[in-house]
Each structure stands twice: as structure tokens, then as C-alpha cells.
Symmetry: C2
């Protein structure tokens, strides 16, 4: 079986044994933005053609590969949704004599009527179910577009997205805050000061300007400023979460460590999960198509 997590910027494939054990992992900077329209089959063959030639099947893919800019647009499935809803809505794509399945993303409409979407995170969340309590809980997937999902009775009840990572990136690269920044090692103290600042008066739009003014007055060096900005934004995200009880965290180790640090500073209990959970969920979905 070949589960593929094919996102905006990264292609990641696993070769699994029939019992779900990961035999091999491959990843490449071949996210959907790096693939020309119509070239998805070729890129898949380039990455895992030898596995396919060896008869490995089925291929089950999740992530932005199912978006309008991906291989084929697969409609979102509405929350609440679990394995059954995803399995019923797998979409088949074919090339030559081969085929693969794309997992749908999820949508959710909040109380105010505003829609939200995810593609890819749903399989990471469902793959983590064995590590979660049976009672309702929150799981956070930090990133460019951080997801906060409420899981209840083995289904994703709802979720919300925070643009934390992308805002950090555009401010660092394109705003006046970025002009004073220098690359440097992550600075724990500056990060903690940012987390602290996120709880003070006057809100995020005001706090952002403080990155510049603290720099102007020599309170923050160019290499500390990115860590301070990161703490500020992650602090705002965590404070908005307004969840009770423990939060489960599913993300790449470095980013997960920063979220864990911020949560500790805010007195929020947080438990990291295995970031390779996606492969497990895709394996469960793939078993239906074997």
C-alpha cells in the first residue's frame, strides 16, 4: 500500500506492509504548487514508480492534491465526519492502466455562518485516534494554516483555522518588521516575551508594531526579533483557543516544541502526538480499496 500526503509544498509517500508497518518513506519538494497542471501522474511515477512497478497498491492520497489546483478537485465532506464519511467519498483518478484514490477534505460552518476547510489534516487527526481519549478533546496541528479540531466519538466534530504561520512569513519577508530582522538561532527568552505580550492590552494589530519599536529602542536585536514575533503570534493563537482540558498537538518536531513552550507559559496542558499518524489513517482507508 502506498499512502501519499501531497500538500502545497511537499510530496510525502510511505510504503506500508499489509499490517500497516512503515517500510520506507520518501519526500520531495514536489508540492502541488511545483507541479504543472496535468503532470500529476508523471510526478507520482517519478517519486514512487519503482514501488508501483513492483505491484504495490493501492495508492491513497490526501492533502491539496484534491483541491482545485491539484490532480482532481474532490468536494469537501461536511463535519461531523470520521473514517466512514471519508471512505465513502474517496475519488478515483486513473492514468495508463493505473489508478489511485484521493481522500476528500473537510468543511465546517461555524455558529456565525462562516465556512472553514482542511485538506490533509483530517487523515492526520483520524490516524491519531488511538492516542486520544474517548471523551471530546481538542487537537492542534500548527503550521502555515494552523488547525484546531474538536474530536468526539471518533469523528471530527468541527474545526477552525488560524493563519499564524503564513502571517509570520509575510510579515518577516514583506513588512517593516522584517527589515530589522536577521537570521539567527531561536531565542527562548524573546519567544517567551512575545507569548507574554500577547496577553496584554490593545490587541494583535498593536502588539505587532511593538516588534519594531522594541527594536528601535535596542530592546530586541535583529536576530531575536523573529523569535519574539513567533511568540506573539503563537501566543495569540493559543489564547484564542479557549479550550478546557488538555490539548493534543500534532506537528513537526521543531514547531511542536515552540507550541509546547508557549502552552507551558500559558498554563495550558499539552500532549504531543506521533506526527506520522497520517500514514496510519491512509492505511485504514486503503484497506477498503485493496
Amino acid at each position: 500500500m502506498i499512502p501519499v500526503d501531497w500538500g502545497t509544498s511537499t510530496f510525502r509517500a510511505y510504503r506500508l506492509a499489509p499490517d500497516g508497518k512503515i517500510l520506507e518513506t520518501r519526500s520531495a519538494p514536489k508540492g502541488i504548487l511545483a507541479v504543472e497542471a496535468g503532470r500529476f501522474p508523471q510526478v507520482l511515477e517519478e517519486q514512487v514508480g519503482d514501488w508501483l512497478a513492483a505491484g504495490e497498491a493501492p495508492v491513497v492520497m490526501s492533502g491539496m492534491v484534491g483541491s482545485r489546483q491539484g490532480w482532481a478537485e474532490v468536494p469537501y465532506v461536511q463535519c461531523p465526519a470520521g473514517f466512514d464519511e471519508l471512505a465513502r467519498n474517496l475519488t478515483r483518478v486513473e492514468w495508463g492502466k493505473r489508478q489511485a484514490w484521493i481522500v476528500p477534505g473537510l468543511s465546517f460552518v461555524d455558529e456565525a455562518g462562516v465556512p472553514d476547510v482542511m485538506r490533509g489534516e483530517e487523515v492526520q487527526i483520524l490516524g491519531s485516534l488511538p492516542a486520544l481519549p474517548r471523551s471530546a478533546c481538542w487537537i492542534c496541528l500548527p503550521g502555515t494554516h494552523s488547525k484546531w479540531a474538536q474530536v468526539e466519538e471518533d469523528r471530527i466534530a468541527g474545526f477552525r483555522t488560524h493563519m499564524t504561520g503564513e502571517l509570520f512569513s509575510v510579515l518577516k519577508s514583506h513588512s517593516i518588521l522584517g527589515r530589522m530582522m536577521q537570521d539567527g538561532a531561536f531565542d527562548d527568552t524573546a519567544f517567551a516575551e512575545g507569548v507574554q505580550r500577547s496577553g496584554e492590552a490593545d490587541g494583535l494589530l498593536h502588539h505587532l508594531f511593538g516588534v519594531r519599536t522594541r527594536g528601535l529602542f535596542g530592546e530586541l536585536s535583529g536576530s531575536q526579533a523573529p523569535s519574539y514575533l513567533s511568540g506573539l503570534l503563537i501566543g495569540h493563537e493559543l489564547r484564542q483557543a479557549d479550550v478546557s482540558g488538555k490539548i493534543f498537538l500534532l506537528g513537526a518536531p521543531e514547531l511542536a516544541a515552540h507550541y509546547s513552550q508557549a502552552a507551558r507559559l500559558l498554563g495550558i496542558e499539552i500532549e504531543p502526538l506521533d506526527p506520522q499518524a497520517a500514514a496510519r489513517a491512509l492505511w485504514l482507508l486503503a484497506r477498503n480499496k485493496a
Copy 2:
């Protein structure tokens, strides 16, 4: 007398009669970012050399021209500050046989110990004093870096900056939100929806992502999206203001109209002021140097 408002992106000069009446106004896209180091005297001569040759004096300049990237760095004066503090701290620059005066900017340290700064807005605020009540009041100067200043007994008691305009600009030009945007006429309804959204649950980082998802679901067209984002950001700024009583508004007509619309939607009383107030304050400062 020649008051000059010399900011980051715009050079604006006034020729005033001795009684303060504006005889002529000139502006050019010759903000300090468009001036090479050491070329400030030449640019000033290019813009108002004929007035100088006719013996018009003194020249009094405010804004980013007094910053590290400007003609000469003039230290900030700490709040509370009024005309007296600015007049005592005018800094002279000379070129050839001519001279001009640069008005210092202001700094303020909030209760949490974080500094804030302004350069140029202080003269706009002080120029508006005749239109303000004697009691303490708030004045808002919307823009790239919106300023909210508290004025009390003819002095600026303190202030805070919101990065509203710059955040709008970087998100429109460089984020995933901008990719779906098209230029179009300002859309009142979309703007009002953004202002409304700013008061709903989960905060700005989450609300921003809704610009994208509402677009994905056809609730917001590409040409409406900029107005919605603008309403969202201005709504967040106004809600954070947390001021009681009437707010006075000092800004360019189009932007001031948007802030007035948002304030009405939020039930905040707002009164626009004459945006040419800066010339009056610079005239009062210039009289000391005539």
C-alpha cells in the same frame, strides 16, 4: 513660512502667509525612502527652491525626515508633550547658506513597558487642538500605521499604534488571501460584513482565513474580498480602542470615510477633523524661528 510634512512616501510643503493662511500647497512622491542619503537638501531645493529664492522662511519639517533614515536623526520627545516640548527640541540642519528646522517625533511607554513612536502625527494632532474639547479625548489618525492618541490639556498624554494599513497591504500583495483578490470598486456591504465579523469568536488570526474560505464557497467575489478584509482589520482596530465618548478622526478623506462607516456600525461616535491641521501646527512652531 514653509512648513513641510516629509513622510515615508510623500513630500508635502505649504507656503503660508504670516497669519497662517495657506497660500500654496505642493506634494510629490519624494518620501524619505525615495531620497538617497545626503540628497535631502537637493530634493528640498527641487521642490520649493523658488519659494526659498523669494526669501520665504523659516522652513520647519516634520515626519520621517527626522528619523535614522531621514535628513538627520532627531531624538524622540517623551509623552506627555505639547507645543512647548516640541519647540524646545527643534533641531537645525544647514546646507549652503540656508537652514531648516526638524520637529522631533514623540515616544510613549505603555503600562506593560513597551515603547511606541510617532513622527509627523504629533503636529497634525496639535494643529487640531482648536477643534478638540478641553477635556481628555481620543484622536485617531488612520493609515499604514494607525495612531490613537489621548489628548489632555493641550498635550498628547500618550498613544498607541496599530499596524492596520500595512497588514492590509502585505496580506493583499503577498498572502494566499491576495491570490483571490481583484481590483474593483469599494464594496460597502462586504466592508460591513468584515466589520461585523471582527466581533465574532476566535480572533483575528482565525478571521483572516475566512477571507479565503468565504471566497472558496462563492460568498465573496474577488473584487469584494479587499473591502471585506479592510472591514475586518478596521473593525478589529476600532474594537480594541476601548475608548469612551466621541472619537476624533484625522485622515485623508477616503480612508476617513471608511473609519467613519465602521464606527457607525459599531455605535461609536466619531467626528472628522480638518486633515490639513499639520500646516497650522508647523506655522505655530515656525513663528518662534522667524
